[in-house]
């Protein structure tokens, strides 16, 4: 059964829960630092270790960051809300509960528009709430570090208490076959928004942006099916693969007359498949109640409006603006986005290059090298300043296309700025007309029949002579100049 057949017969409904670690300097409820990769249990204090008598106090910047996120996602900001205790027993939280928000999130009822294949899909946001991250557990004694079969676990509480924001979408319907791409586009857009706000470093591979994907299938016109929740989705590509694989798996069960079990499933990066999480039915009964140690949060409307006024341009608005300014088609703009070249091209233009010139190199030679080596564009060692200098040299006619490519090659090898490379390698367009005329005369003498054709008005034949001149000058002539000189000579 192909994917296309499946989405003919079933309508997928998806929902996404995204957790974002804020980039605050301190934890949510205590003043411990939040450096990534610190030695185990060196960023802990009585509050985040839940020692008796310790009391939490809310981080002001975490509240402000959450409001920023809510406003960027077009949410309403609560006038009054509280924290709640989510009770559970698991050693990743020493308190035996996590401070979270329950039925009173700080932000609610928003949306985020995302583009998929030139179509705008509005993803409705249910809520944005604050909570604290958990500690990291290492399982010992089992196979491959899994919790199953482990005889003991070791816990590092550095991460426990880092501000964590949960962003929950409403169910997304009507996307049909595009559901996996919509899910990916949403997480990508959300990541860009969060990065633009400067509230998190949003690195999926480091876990500062984590995603759980809910998926269900129903036949057209029927009620929504039972959903599964897929966890461990740690890259944008995995978001798409996880939804697709769940759609395929669930349709297989439904086609065989089976029932979908409501459960947590784990995504495996290597196989692209999901497997069932713990099958044992543990009724989630978290016994939420208002956190007595934290007083209500009531953001003043003036403060909210102040934060709103200070929001940066949203990525989607910026993309539309740049696409217009650069005169690109939607398709070309998408290529620029996919290559991760928007910021680089913009900076290159700021450094003085034309938009065509900037795009030509970033999307051409440099993108090719990035693909070949698997390095990001901004990790190639070439700066926007560098490209701007190259563009100005080509615009001034000092480098032709062929020479410029050689300069790029040398630049990628770390040989310096375009100017330095030209000097060191003696790469410059021959602008000495005398030397060019000499080469042109030789070319004409060697190709009398071609020269005759040009004299007879066939300007297209000039290509042969231009080629010959380029050969004698070792490629260091400007083809346009040579062409002009030839046509002048054979008028």
């Amino acid at each position: 059964m192909t994917y296309a057949d499946i989405v003919e017969r079933y309508e997928p409904v998806i929902g996404l829960e995204t957790h974002v670690e804020l980039g605050t300097r301190t934890k949510m409820f205590c003043s411990c630092p939040t450096e990534f990769g610190a030695e185990p249990n060196t960023q802990v204090c009585p509050v985040c270790l839940a020692l008796p008598g310790a009391l939490p106090v809310v981080n002001a910047v975490a509240i402000e960051s959450t409001i920023k996120i809510g406003l960027a996602l077009n949410c309403s900001i609560a006038e009054w809300c509280r924290f709640a205790r989510k009770n559970y027993f698991y050693p990743d939280m020493p308190k035996n509960f996590q401070i979270s928000q329950y039925d009173e999130p700080l932000c609610f009822d928003g949306y985020l528009d995302v583009e998929v294949d030139g179509r705008t899909v509005r993803i409705e946001i249910e809520r944005v709430h604050m909570e604290e991250d958990t500690g990291k557990t290492m399982h010992i004694g089992g196979s491959t570090g899994r919790i199953q079969g482990a005889t003991e676990s070791l816990v590092d509480y550095n991460r426990a208490g880092i501000p964590l924001i949960e962003i929950v979408t409403k169910p997304v319907t009507g996307t049909g076959a595009m559901a996996p791409e919509v899910a990916k586009a949403y997480v990508a857009e959300l990541r860009d928004v969060l990065r633009g706000l400067g509230v998190s470093d949003v690195r999926m591979e480091q876990g500062s942006l984590r995603c759980d994907v809910n998926t269900s299938l129903n036949k057209p016109g029927e009620e929504w099916g039972t959903r599964t929740e897929t966890k461990n989705v740690n890259s944008l590509r995995s978001v798409e693969r996880a939804v697709r694989s769940e759609i395929i798996r669930q349709s297989g069960i439904l086609d065989d007359g089976g029932k979908i079990t409501q459960e947590t499933r784990h995504f495996h990066e290597d196989t692209g498949q999901t497997t069932s999480g713990r099958s044992k039915e543990t009724a989630t009964d978290y016994r939420y109640f208002p956190e007595p140690d934290l007083v209500p949060v009531t953001p003043a409307r003036e403060w909210v409006e102040e934060i709103r006024a200070g929001l940066p341009e949203m990525p989607r608005v910026r993309r539309l603006r740049l696409r217009e300014a650069w005169g690109l088609s939607e398709h070309d703009m998408q290529s620029v986005l996919n290559a991760g070249a928007v910021d680089l091209i913009e900076a290159t233009i700021v450094a003085g290059a034309s938009s065509e010139g900037a795009r030509k190199w970033w999307m051409g030679e440099l993108a090719r090298r990035s693909n070949e080596t698997g390095q990001e564009l901004d990790a190639l060692g070439i700066t926007p300043q560098w490209v701007a200098e190259l563009v100005s040299l080509t615009d001034a006619g000092k480098l032709n296309d062929k020479l410029a490519r050689q300069v790029v090659e040398a630049g990628l090898n770390g040989e310096g700025t375009p100017g330095e490379i030209m000097a060191a390698r003696k790469l410059e367009v021959v602008s000495d007309t005398g030397a060019l005329l000499e080469a042109i005369d030789a070319a004409i003498a060697a190709n009398p029949d071609v020269a005759e054709k040009i004299r007879g008005g066939n300007q297209g034949a000039a290509g042969v002579l231009i080629g010959a001149v380029m050969k004698t000058t070792g490629g260091q002539a400007d083809a346009k100049t040579v062409r002009g000189l030839i046509l002048e000579k054979l008028k």
Partner: protein, 99 residues
Amino acid sequence: MTAISREEVAHLARLARLAVTDEELDMFAGQLDVILQSVARVGEVAAEDIPPTSHSVPLTNVFRPDEPRPGLTRAAALAGAPDSAEDRFRVPRILDEEE
């Protein structure tokens, strides 16, 4: 009318990982019921215009600046742990065998 049933107490005890005997269940269910019924009397005097109270102090927006302060040293943090290994807190097996 009881405020809490014996089954509810058993359920809560399980969630709280408390091992209680049948006798204890009978005893605690009765005691908790008395406590809950007493507290419920507050509801009888609360008028419609009085919102439920979760905090006894009339405070809101108690925040602290986002400035790091040193916490505990690792040695001090681990000193209170029943057991530790590799600079981490060591805890017994999390899942039961059959899980």
